[in-house]
Subunit: 125 residues, 2 copies
């Protein structure tokens, strides 16, 4: 876990990819970018204060991974229960994966203290 | 070039990473996500019509690569000259790369006809 090398950010956005899909690096970049853009739109509607705090503190993002869709769904349920912005990316499936595949879950921006109980044990992507 | 497998999108966002930096997959995901979020903010200020057209057509994104910073700077100059949204991501350098390293150039969202002359010959990331 290389995260100890990161500065202490009080706000972050977490991009969680499914490692078992073995996406090409570029495919993974696109899924994470989809999630980040969707999260900003979601936060503009429901958590504008968190969005502004995150923007002003450097827009920290981190990419993590799970090995199964079930893990991703569990994290999403817990995030929603805590009132955190959370979005699935469903791939249109033109390349690499079947249409409708959930490739990535984005959570945040949110306080690190809210995110770490859900995602603090995940491996870096 | 696998892009022939993609549908014909009239609007897209292009995320161009520096292949020679040999970033970890997660680092690359974060750089691309930074670029995408910055581009949306830039387009909201200067190209709201393009942003809306892109959003409504599925928010297509593609991740490409160059081998040198000079190539990235050349593409940015040409993009600016054409009036396209273009942003550099400069990494804070806590991990993997030196502080201030330009890791990624984002261009768009814009019509494919505007982007392809600048980025159509690049390899997928």
């Amino acid at each position: 876990m290389a995260r100890t090398g990161l500065p202490r950010n009080h706000w972050k956005m977490v991009l969680i990819l499914r490692g078992e899909l073995r996406m090409t690096p570029g495919k993974a970049v696109v899924q994470g970018a989809h999630a980040a853009v969707l999260l900003v739109a979601e936060a503009e509607r429901r958590h504008r204060d968190w969005l502004e705090a995150w923007r002003q503190s450097g827009q920290a993002k981190i990419a993590l991974q799970v090995e199964t869709l079930e893990e991703l769904e569990t994290i999403r349920r817990k995030a929603i229960a805590r009132g955190l912005p959370a979005v699935f990316v469903e791939d249109a499936g033109y390349t690499e994966v079947a249409p409708g595949t959930r490739t990535c879950l984005g959570v945040g921006p949110a306080p690190t203290s809210e995110l770490d109980p859900l995602t603090g044990a995940l491996e870096l992507y």
